[in-house]
Amino acid sequence: MNRKRNLMGALAVMSVMGAGTAFAQQPTLELMHFWTSGGESNAMQVIKDAVQAAGIAWQDAAVAGGAGMNAYQVLQARIAAGNPPAGMQMHSAQIRQFAQEGLLIDLDAVASAQGWDKEGVLDPQLKAYAYTDGHWVGAPFNTHRHNWLWINKALLDKYGGTPPATWEDFFAMADKMKADGVIPIAHGGQAWQELFLWEAVANGVGGPAFHKAAIEELDPEALSGDTMKQVFDTYRKVLSYVDPGYPNRDWNLSIAMVMDGQAAMALAGDWALGEFNVAGKQANVDYVCANGPGTDGQFVWLADYWGFFKGLDEQGVKAQQKLAEITMDPAIQEEFNIRKGSIPARLDVKPDKFGFCGQKGIADRAAAVAAGTMVPSLSQNSAQTTDVRGVFEDAVNEFANTPDMTADEAIAKINQGLAEL
């Protein structure tokens, strides 16, 4: 017994020493991200395995929470300490912002070797962020779709069988449900979810042209025009169909309500797929994924990228470039996104292996890219800088929770907030 233990101890010491020497030879990348739930981690594993197979050690520095804000808090402290991680998961707005601060390495060599620039590889809107000020600075690994409406199949069949094509249809259907005691829409009153819902309404009511003028270009006329008022009024009406338990409800509880038939519909991005999958629910059997009301033909997108910080030695930079190359590898993008529930950032990955909703997403995106109806998401940091997004979020939340606030007052709030930036 004793001898055995000694032997095991010796083995342990040897293996530690072995690990130590391997560590010294191998380049190591310290990577910060905010994906830590089971499904997210499972997807990240795909990239990690490929990185390790390429002889690079992956040191994980995940910080979850606050929709990535906790990670940014840590990142800012680390930049101040002169000790940023090798790479960080970023949304569109942040990749541009950190690139403009001159903190990111450029990936031009990898991009040209791998042909990121070629027609049909990346959507021009997404590329506009990955390629900032004449350099490739971000390696996108996925695209999430924003404008999905998730519907309980049994309830849908009971109330007409076709998903509502417009917000008018939605209200007609919701009234019938409400009369029968079914909660028409499961929603959570968290700040980001309110902005998400508001933007879904804006896309359905105003369409891509309005989104572009009012939200992307902040055109004063569009911001204060009749469409904007209509968006707020419609949003107010949508909120009248939620149940009393909605304040601060997590989004996944809303999805659970749809699964159980407690609620008929929920608006959420394709991250909802993960919940349906975990619960073993089938598309078109248990639930239906439809375009958000009034958004047929639109593809409202958000993406995640790697941004790589300057400061590593030559070997480290090579490792960073290798990770970028791996991330943009079509096979990796395919496997990663099947696991994550999103779709590849690359347009040229075959959709065959994706589920029904994933395939629909890929097809809808192809159509939207061709038609020029891709719409960057404001609520998920793809349409605006974070300070502008914040102005919208605050105004929308105040409106949602102040029953006697008018559309005009909300619009005035937005204009006032923007003027202060």
Binding site: E30, L31, H33, F34, W35, T36, S37, G38, G39, E40, S41, N42, M44, Q45, K48, W58, Q59, D60, A61, A62, V63, A64, G65, G66, A67, G68, N70, Q73, V74, Q76, A77, R78, A80, A81, G82, N83, P85, H144, W192, D250, W251, N252, L253, A256, D260, G269, W271, G274, E275, V278, A279
Partner: protein
């Protein structure tokens, strides 16, 4: 414990019988109040415990105090060893050691220095002692988010960014105002005679502190240790910003297990993880409680 101040004993006694009845009623009232409070305090724990042994479907469907239909310990084993704390799904078991390495030195150093400060500020007064205490005291109101960045820059310059030593330093520094406030609040009530008696015996500052003050300070040292231990153990802000990678403390791991915006949320695993992460603190409360005995000062004064 024998010197506890008892309410019932203080009642003037008209007759033995009524006094006894009053006494019994008084005891019952005291215990009843304690039990009612205890039940109220335990309610959220009951919710957490019940949730942690239910399958996810039951949680989403049922009443928060409903007993589990199919009880399971799977969430606990998941929290311990398979919950994802990042790209690695290793549970929170690997994060205790790091956290102890941070907590123990910071607690010991800050508590001792705080006690010394409190002693010096109350029993050996010097000019400006009130101003000095005021300066230290307002350190308890430091807005941590506002000092996050300059502290990071300082640690970077000291070459301590990302290290356990750096984090110990940070916790010690921002714990000092608290430990000083605790100690001073206690020592100010300690009769000056104790110090005088020690001086008559020829003891200097340090010996007086060590052999006269510390022995009677158990209750307040416990308060100080409870505060420091709990706060450092449960700290996320400093831990995440100043000690990363393999040095990450347990709250960073717990946060990664429970906090996700677009991932699924196994609430049962979350609850189990939180309770597992709290075990060291709970043990401390139980063990340290033994030293919550009455001080010895009245005896020393008389002696």
């Amino acid at each position: 414990m024998s010197r506890a101040i008892s309410v019932e004993g203080a009642i003037a006694l008209p007759t033995v019988k009524t006094a006894r009845r009053k006494r019994v009623i008084g005891r019952i009232a005291v215990y009843a109040a304690l039990v009612v409070f205890a039940l109220a305090y335990l309610f959220p724990l009951a919710v957490m415990l019940l949730t942690s042994v239910k399958p996810l479907r039951e949680i989403q469907a049922g009443n928060i105090l409903a007993l589990p239909v199919e009880p399971t310990i799977a969430p606990w084993t998941a929290a311990w060893s398979t919950a994802c704390v990042g790209v690695e799904c290793v549970g929170i078991r690997g994060f205790y050691a790091n956290t102890f390495i941070i907590v123990i030195p910071a607690v010991v150093i800050a508590t001792l220095i705080g006690a010394l400060n409190g002693f010096a500020l109350t029993k050996f007064r010097f000019p400006g002692h009130r101003l000095i205490f005021g300066l230290i005291l307002f350190g308890t109101f430091t807005p941590y988010q506002a000092i996050l960045i300059p502290m990071a820059a300082t640690l970077g310059k000291l070459g301590l960014s990302g290290s356990l030593v750096g984090l110990i330093l940070v916790h010690t520094i921002y714990g000092l105002p608290f430990t000083t406030v605790f100690a001073r609040g206690f020592y100010i009530g300690v009769p000056q005679e104790l110090v005088k008696a020690a001086e008559v015996d020829g003891a200097g500052f340090f010996r007086t502190f060590w052999s006269v003050m510390l022995p009677i300070s158990a209750p307040i040292l416990i308060v100080s240790v409870i505060w420091m231990f709990t706060n450092i153990w449960n700290d996320f802000l400093f831990g995440s910003a100043y000690a990363f990678g393999s040095n990450a403390p347990i709250m960073v791991a717990l946060n990664n297990v429970v906090n996700t915006s677009t991932g699924e949320k196994p609430y049962n695993v979350h609850m189990a993880s939180a309770m597992l992460a709290a075990i060291p603190t709970l043990i401390l409360y139980i063990v340290a409680g033994k030293y919550f005995i009455r001080g010895l000062m009245s005896g020393s004064v008389k002696g």
